[in-house]
């Protein structure tokens, strides 16, 4: 089967099983192909499609552009154009259900005539795959057609796509297509894009850096490993540069592995943390598809269930939360900080009194930890009145009182005493991070993990470190030897 589909143009040596081809008939109105690369030709225009080697369930492409299929493609288009229904990833083409279209002579021509006209022969990199958006009654490429950045298989050949039949058949087929692998990718990518838009980002063309109102979705969505990139910025930054390259932007990379899509995001021009979110297609794609299928009618008004049940809505909320908290919000914070814009709603932007109010609800130990987070929080968390409150909460009232009491210190002392009392009751060895940290400044053993973590005295010469087998209870080690100010 495969061999036949890789049939070359007439310049190639003739296939042993096929008769040699005459020159193509002049003025042929369309070209058929099974892999968008190599054309299927028949010596007899009136021949049946079967004679070209097409079989039931094959996916057929055709174009009205005479030179659309002239040159073989470097992409992986050929590999994914294997036979049956829906196998190739989500290309928005109609199936040629061969059995239902057993052609009397000349049927292909009829089909060609019924086809919508906008074939797109240009090979420009920004190839407007809007041909695919010309599908009647179907905005599957919804309002977003994404332009791959070249990582996705190049579809620079002429926009070869077909519509074989009436819109309802097409819709059904598209629905089937969306149910396939490529469709799920597309749904998730669009949904993530939606979250970013809602967070305040604007999409930016990765090539030119100008805002893009529509992305151009590559037609090619291979069903296996898949990767694509999108770029976003903020309206303020876009306005500043007035249509030229934005100064700062955020890059999102979608990578699919099996039925998971990982979305990585980071600032385009800075080396800050890479944010990552992993989405399970199997979990979210059906829900998103349901939302899409509902169309425009009454998307919001389903409080009482309606046709979108509450569990689907919950899943959508879950999805939104995952993407927003894991990706959109961190990236937004990174971008606004870098660009000097006001921060979005986040902990950092709460006024002082609200932060203190939250700290009042924390136990002392968490308050101490919060104080280690950043210098601002260190200052806030060292508030004396706050520590007095913590002390009273945990240890009760204290008889002495005066203006100059450092309540945090007092709390700390009490807490340590309490811990000593508790630890002397139970002799459980517990690993403490302090010991490990103190070993590192000594320069050795300088190894993390394994026995060096479990037994921090390992490999370190006395008096700082201790031989392995004698000191298995590290609490005793801490109490008995001076590791440089630990107990000070």
């Amino acid at each position: 089967m495969g061999k036949r589909r890789r049939k070359k143009t007439s310049a190639a040596p003739p296939h042993p099983r096929w008769p040699p081809l005459p020159p193509p008939p002049p003025g042929a109105s369309f070209r058929l192909s099974l892999n968008r690369t190599d054309e299927l030709r028949s010596p007899d225009p009136a021949a049946s499609l079967q004679s070209l080697g097409l079989a039931s369930g094959d996916l057929v492409y055709f174009s009205l552009a005479p030179d659309a299929l002239a040159s073989p493609q470097a992409g992986d288009g050929s590999s994914s154009a294997e036979s049956s229904a829906g196998a190739s990833g989500g290309v928005p083409l109609g199936h040629a259900e061969m059995d239902s279209e057993d052609p009397p002579g000349g049927r292909p021509r009829e089909v060609a005539e019924s086809e919508m006209v906008d074939s797109v022969p240009d090979d420009a990199p920004g190839a407007d795959a809007s041909g695919s958006a010309g599908d009647p009654g179907n905005s599957v490429s919804a309002s977003f057609d994404f332009e791959g950045d070249g990582v996705v298989a190049a579809d620079d050949s002429a926009g070869v796509r077909s519509k074989f039949s009436e819109p309802c058949f097409l819709k059904r087929v598209l629905r089937e297509e969306l149910g396939g692998d490529g469709g799920d990718h597309r749904l998730l990518v669009i949904a993530v894009h939606a979250v970013l838009l809602e967070s305040g980002f604007v999409a930016v063309d990765p090539v030119t850096g100008v805002p893009a109102h529509r992305f151009h979705l590559s037609d090619q969505w291979p069903s296996t490993a898949f990767m694509m990139t999108l770029q976003y910025s903020l309206p303020e930054l876009v306005a500043k540069t007035q249509g030229r390259n934005v100064s700062e932007s955020v890059v999102l990379k979608f990578v699919s592995l099996g039925h998971f899509i990982s979305v990585y995001g980071r600032l385009a021009k800075a080396n800050l943390a890479l944010r990552r979110v992993c989405l399970d297609e199997r979990r979210f794609a059906p829900i998103i598809d349901e939302m899409w299928a509902k169309g425009d009618d009454d998307v919001e008004g389903n409080e009482d269930g309606g046709s979108l049940n509450s569990s689907s809505e919950k899943e959508v909320f879950e999805f939104w939360k995952i993407v927003k908290d894991g990706l959109a919000l961190p990236l937004l914070i990174d971008l606004t900080e870098r660009a000097g814009l006001p921060l979005p709603s986040c902990f950092t932007c709460l006024p002082m009194e609200l932060k203190l109010r939250i700290f009042e609800l924390l136990p002392g130990i968490d308050l101490a930890r919060v104080g280690c987070v950043s210098s601002d929080l260190q200052y806030l968390a060292s508030n004396n009145d706050l520590w007095k409150q913590k002390y009273v909460e945990e240890f009760g009232e204290r008889t002495e009182s005066g203006e100059m009491i450092n309540w945090k210190q007092i709390f700390t002392l009490e807490a340590k005493k309490k811990r000593k009392r508790e630890s002397s009751r139970c002799q459980m060895p517990a690993y403490t991070s302090r010991v490990r940290r103190l070993l590192n400044p000594l320069g050795f053993p300088g190894v993390l993990g394994g026995d060096y973590d479990r037994l921090p005295g390992l490999g370190v010469h006395p008096p700082f470190g201790l031989p392995f087998h004698r000191y298995q209870f590290r609490r005793n080690i801490i109490h008995n030897c001076n590791l440089g100010g630990l107990n000070g």
Binding site: K321, R357, A368, R369, C372, R419
Partner: protein, 164 residues
């Protein structure tokens, strides 16, 4: 699409139709809230007392999306005959939202002085902090640490007892 209710200076009696207050968000959307629900907000209560509640009250610090939810919260809490447990469950569901929205709620509750909402949301954030190490807190809330390594070491040493 604003519909301002006819201003009425008389207090609403039980037999009268409920008096609705109109609120306008920062992005121009108008919302209606029952007076009883609006009284949950001290800010609105003051405005109602001073009889400024005739035209839609502008709330420049609150977006439409958040104001809608705040109105929902206040209405729910003003409902008679809701038992504590189901109200608590409803509250838990109400704050089961993404982080940015929780902080929006806090800011809105602070601005409108709604003690119930403020307590609820502050507790939510405190729960988010509780039990986390400083690194985890930083990562969770996207806080940039501006300590130098020496400062960080010192801070850790000071608070080492919190890490046992």
């Amino acid at each position: 699409m604003s519909s301002s209710p006819p201003p009425s200076s008389a207090a609403a009696s039980p037999s009268c139709p409920k008096k609705m207050i109109a609120l306008r968000s920062s992005d121009g959307e108008t919302f209606e809230i029952e007076e009883a629900a609006a009284l949950q907000s001290k800010t609105l209560e003051n405005m109602i007392d001073e009889d400024c509640a005739g035209t839609p009250i502008p709330l420049p610090n609150v977006t439409g999306k958040i104001l809608a939810k705040v109105v929902e919260f206040c209405s729910k809490h003003a409902e008679p005959g809701v038992d504590d447990e189901s109200l608590r469950a409803w509250d838990a569901e109400f704050v089961n939202v993404e982080q940015a929205t929780v902080f929006d709620y806090i800011l809105a509750a602070n601005f409108l002085e709604i003690p119930t909402l403020l307590n609820l949301t502050c507790n939510v954030v405190a729960d988010m902090i509780r039990g986390k190490t400083p690194d985890e807190i930083r990562k969770f809330f996207n806080i940039k640490s501006i300590f130098s390594p020496e400062e960080e070491e010192e801070v850790r040493r000071e608070n080492h007892w919190a890490f046992e």
